[in-house]
Symmetry: C2
Amino acid sequence: MAISSKRERTRSRLGECALALFEERGFEATSVAQIARAAGVTEMTFFRHFGAKEQAVLTDPFDPVIAEVVSARPRDEEPLARAVRGLRSALSGLSEADLVMVRRRVRLVARTPALRAAAVTQNEVTSAAIAERLAAGGADPFTARVAAQTVLAAVTTALYAWAEDPHWTLIESIGAALDVLDQGHD
Amino acid sequence: MAISSKRERTRSRLGECALALFEERGFEATSVAQIARAAGVTEMTFFRHFGAKEQAVLTDPFDPVIAEVVSARPRDEEPLARAVRGLRSALSGLSEADLVMVRRRVRLVARTPALRAAAVTQNEVTSAAIAERLAAGGADPFTARVAAQTVLAAVTTALYAWAEDPHWTLIESIGAALDVLDQGHD
DNA sequence: TCATGAATGTTATGGACTAACATTACGTTC
DNA sequence: GAACGTAATGTTAGTCCATAACATTCATGA
């Protein structure tokens, strides 16, 4: 028997239909009514699963992992180094299939202004979590906030560049971005 | 006779009413119909002046100045130093009255998720301009992009912190944020 | 004065969301 | 496996943001 409940199944069905339609005819040109119909469900149901149209794309298990992993690093490393190494180890855990899906979503976000705007809200949660951990490790609160926001900005830029350029690895792109922050530190 | 045309006057009237109402009862709780009515004008007119509700707050002469000033620095300085010094000289040109208005707007943005999200769109234009200038100065395009996004993330964080904390100067806050990026470089 | 174009008003429409209430489907207990 | 309670979904109605097409007022110079 399936592990997934009915709720989980319709949710993922909605997510898949949304992604496919967005890729096919664009985010703005696709109405949630169309998505709902494609998933064999009502408009209302869509909003019960994803609070807003953008959430159908932006809901991924990616951001929480970052915060988790950064805070798992030894506390005596400096903030930037912790972020870099934390991300490196986190990304090595993704499968090929995962990467394909992540790339599809990130590319869509990278190409859609409304999605990029909505993504910052996700980002802020991650950023706050990272900053909190850094501050708990003894960093000045303001410094922690800036460091967290800065690292995420670099990672986001790397993600968008990677999604558009097929001959780069995710880890390569992110590594290169973080190297820009890190220049002069070694 | 007034220097400002009728168009400019209704525009600024709309902007002032919007800011006041947003501060009074919140951004989401204020409809553009209310703003329009307060300004003695139609809802339609609002949208002709500001393409969207958020633009009533986010339209300021701030972002363009940043890009302008960063690119005005001598090309042989390194990217980060150019950004820091460029901003420093740009901000010193603001009057007390300007600072009060900037603070009101930034505080509203800092407190309103929807406005923070919409602000990134503004940000991207500035970021692209900065990156272009950095790349024209010989920097690798990807590096330029990351540097631009990173600096703006730091500045934005500083802006939000400054708007909420009355005993800090704008330039102090931004300086402190950029110092976080700069640590280890000197 | 009147003619021209800019600024604004009117009306109609569509799409994103919310609220309140009705209904169906699912799983659990007996 | 039948009844019951609840989770999941449907229905309806409405608000607000935003756009389009067309009409109207207002300012300004010939």
